[in-house]
Amino acid sequence: MNPENKNRFEPKIIAFVCTWCTYAGADLAGTSRMQYPANVRVIKFPCTGRIDPVFIIKAFQQGADGILISGCHPGDCHYIAGNYHARRRFAAFRKLLEFIGVDLNRIQFSWVSAAEGGKWVDVVTDLTERVRNMGPMVEFKELALEEQWSGGLDSPDLQQVYEAI
């Protein structure tokens, strides 16, 4: 990396990925020795169907600047239709994020198969650059959505999301 850029903003990117496709795709990028920015941290799920939208909120709260959600291509889900449910769930969730002021450009949804090491690199690189240009995520850190991930559903916003799902 260029030493001149030492002081520039380094965004934190969290990637929620499924084991079967995208995690394996990222592994392939590794075995092929492809290079990409070191900003991304990967959290592995069995399936995108397991990804609860509140994890996104949680991640933003914890200081993430950008979030990537990636799984198998439509029709290729290892678990038949998990990615389909995920897609529907996130479609509803995006509205909520927008409503509470998250710039949707900070979130990237994509499909990366186990064979698409190169695509993984592209997706991660693009998102990192995009978020880098957007600057740190500040809007959200103050939001008091503490502990929504496990507690009851008293927030009307979340209630609304779940109804939409």
Partner: protein, 665 residues
């Protein structure tokens, strides 16, 4: 308080070249809960594993994080090592600092920093890991085969020969399927009956096989190793045990003018009948719709002539339940018909070919019956309308198949070959006749297949015309075929005596309904879906259910038989163990908070979520909640993300574990 051991691997230099592994180890040792931290050159090597095991014992470790390659590579290795050292294997996690770090970043500082963070995340995660029990389920070593075509017969015989019990369910009165209807078979031109009937007899006599013909699947419950299958045995009106197969009833039945479906309606049969002489079992069945006794209460001739008194007009359908551990689905195919389709059917007929109303326009299966020595014409090619021998026969390929317009975009795979076969059979039987074939491409890949096709042209003198036919119409006793030859670029008109259409291979009617009972998936045409086209081509995504033959997609006999034997091998592998072990990544419902909305049930693609009644001691129903059957749950976690009250949790991927990782950032 957890005592975590952290093991950082160099992977020779694969990791240590860009990641400062010592620094990662020393940073890790400072993290909360870490009792031991070290680095080593090759962690997966024997000495490396020993190092882990020793450390667990010496430092009383409660959890382990190995920071090395991808878990896809060595998770199993290290979990086994942990287990050998007395830890529950699921208390060991891997941090991927090779594929996701050292190999993809050059900057040593950045890579080291990232590695430290990854290790930190896994440390937080592993703290929340719970002891997970190994899940095993018992295996009922009996197999169910649905469909008694060549696929079902082959699979049943293979499993039974291996010493396991097999239950075969066939919808029709006899097994045999389409292969029993064929005359001679490509690519070797051996007689279908000759190779088929011995197998049918073997099956019927096999001590390990229970055969239910004229039966259908009513209901399927349970899961891999433990299915409960309810079978409806339709009323045959003939007692299978008493009947000797003498056939007197058939010769005496006065209802003789019923089109014989087995002979594609060319010949006639009686109301009490066996579909074909070699039927297995050789027990007749009364077609109640056409029997005078059932229509008007008179007749009863068959009953009078039957010596053993096998005829029983009062017989009713019966339901029987069979416990099985595995299911092979082999329900085969049916042919597209060009007649006007019923309203609501997405598939259109062929108005331009007369909607099936021109008597001498027949399909390929009808031609098989004409050419079959045991067929209605004794193997003479005679056309249906007037019984004359046709001298000009036009074959048209891809009828229905490869047609977006008719709603079937796929290639039916067998018709190029059987059309070539038909031209040969025709030429063998009618020496002064001429066969013409309208075709687009010849799709004949396979061992000896292209040679076979070429033979039909070069030696049997079939005239192949590259082009399709726009319209067929009757003119006098001829059928005018309006086609084109695209190689020459002109229209071609042939006045044919007989036209044979290679109509599309489609799944059986009701294939979707059976799939729904079984909980297996199917494509938009209703062909059953395999779990993976290349890696798991005979398994359904639903555990314990396997596919064989044309129900999965158009297939010829060699492919069908290969797949059937493969499915049988899969079943035998399953039956080689008494209990099934599986990864304990399954969902679990918290009974206290579940509100019984069953949102989880709706999204579960495996049907793993069941309804469970909670009762108090007096037996009063308190509530109905969800219950995840661990034998069926595949562990995708979709239910957990869906549950509005957060009442279902996926072991190994709980909210706690995930959030711990997020919080470690």
């Amino acid at each position: 308080m957890s005592r975590i051991g952290v093991f950082i691997c160099h992977c020779g230099e694969n990791i240590s070249r860009t990641v400062d592994v010592e620094r990662v180890a020393s940073q890790a040792s400072l993290m909360a809960g870490v009792a031991f931290s070290t680095d080593y050159k090759y962690m997966c090597s024997d000495p490396g594993q020993t190092l882990v095991k020793k450390a667990i014992a010496e430092h009383n470790l409660t959890h382990v994080v190995v920071a090395a390659c991808s878990p896809r590579m060595h998770e199993r290795t290290f979990r086994k090592a942990a287990e050998q050292a007395g830890l529950n294997p699921y208390l060991c996690e891997m941090a991927n600092i090779r594929e996701h770090c050292s190999w993809v970043h050059e900057n040593r500082e950045e890579a080291t920093q990232k590695a430290i963070e990854i290790v930190g995340m896994l440390i937080e995660r592993v703290k929340k890991n719970r002891i997970l029990p190994t899940i095993t389920v018992p295996v009922t070593k009996r197999a169910l085969v649905i469909g008694g075509g060549i696929a079902g017969i082959q699979a049943a015989l293979d499993v039974a020969d291996c010493g396991h019990q097999v239950v075969l369910v066939e919808r029709e009165p006899s097994i045999g399927g389409h292969m029993a209807q064929l005359s001679e078979t490509f690519p070797t031109l051996d007689c279908s009956q000759c190779i088929m009937t011995p197998k049918m007899v073997d099956l019927a006599n096999h001590p390990n096989i229970t055969l239910h013909t004229y039966s259908e699947i009513e209901q399927v419950d349970g899961y891999i190793g433990n299915f409960q299958v309810t079978i409806r045995k339709k009323a045959r009106s003939v007692d299978e045990h008493k009947c000797t197969g003498c056939g007197i009833c058939i010769t005496k039945c006065p209802q003789k003018k019923i089109p014989n479906i087995f002979d594609c309606n060319i010949g006639m049969r009686t109301a009490i009948y066996v579909p074909f002489p070699q039927a297995v079992p050789n027990v007749p069945v009364i077609d109640r719709e056409n029997c005078t006794m059932f229509k008007s209460g008179k007749c009863g001739v068959c009953q009078k002539v039957c010596g053993p008194g096998a005829i029983d007009f009062t017989q009713e359908d019966i339901l029987i339940t069979e416990p099985v551990g595995a299911i092979i689905v082999a329900t085969g195919f049916e042919l597209y018909t060009i007649t006007e389709k019923a309203k609501g059917s997405p598939i259109k007929g062929y108005g331009e070919f007369g909607h099936g109303k021109i008597p001498d326009v027949i399909d390929g299966m009808t031609f098989e019956r004409l050419a079959s020595a045991s067929g209605p014409t004794g193997g003479k090619i005679l056309r249906p309308s007037d019984g004359k021998e046709p001298k000009q026969v036009v074959f048209i390929q891809c009828v229905g198949s490869r047609s977006r317009e008719k709603g079937i975009s796929y290639c039916s795979k067998v018709c190029c070959m059987y059309t070539a076969k038909h031209t040969m059979l025709y030429h063998h039987k009618v020496h002064d006749g001429q066969a013409y074939v309208f075709f687009m491409d010849a799709r004949v890949p396979g061992k000896s297949y292209d040679e076979f096709w070429r033979r039909s042209i070069e030696e049997e003198e079939a005239v192949y015309i590259r082009g399709m036919v726009s319209r067929l119409y009757q003119k006098g006793d001829k059928i005018v075929v309006m086609g084109s030859d695209i190689a020459v670029g002109v229209q071609v008109e042939i006045e044919a005596d007989l036209v044979v259409l290679a109509t599309a291979v489609q799944p059986q009617k009701g294939a979707d309904l059976l799939a729904q009972k079984l909980g297996i998936s199917y494509d938009k045409y209703n062909f059953y879906s395999e779990a993976h086209a290349k890696l798991r081509p005979v398994e359904c995504a639903t555990a314990g259910i396997y596919l064989a033959g044309a129900c999965q997609g158009p297939k010829d006999i060699p492919d069908t038989v290969s797949q059937a034997s493969a499915a049988a091998a899969k079943v035998m592998a399953l039956f080689s163990k008494d209990r099934l072990e599986r990864e304990p990544i399954v969902a679990r419902v918290k009974e206290a908070t579940c509100v019984g909305c069953f949102a989880c049930k709706k999204v579960c693609a495996y049907g793993a979520v069941e309804e469970k009644e909670i009762r108090d001691r007096q037996g009063n129903l308190l509530k109905v909640i969800a219950y995840v059957n661990p034998g069926v749950c595949a562990g995708c976690g979709t239910c957990q993300a869906t549950c509005p009250s957060k009442s279902v949790e996926l072991d190994g991927y709980t909210d706690e574990q995930i959030v711990a990782m997020i919080e470690a950032l």
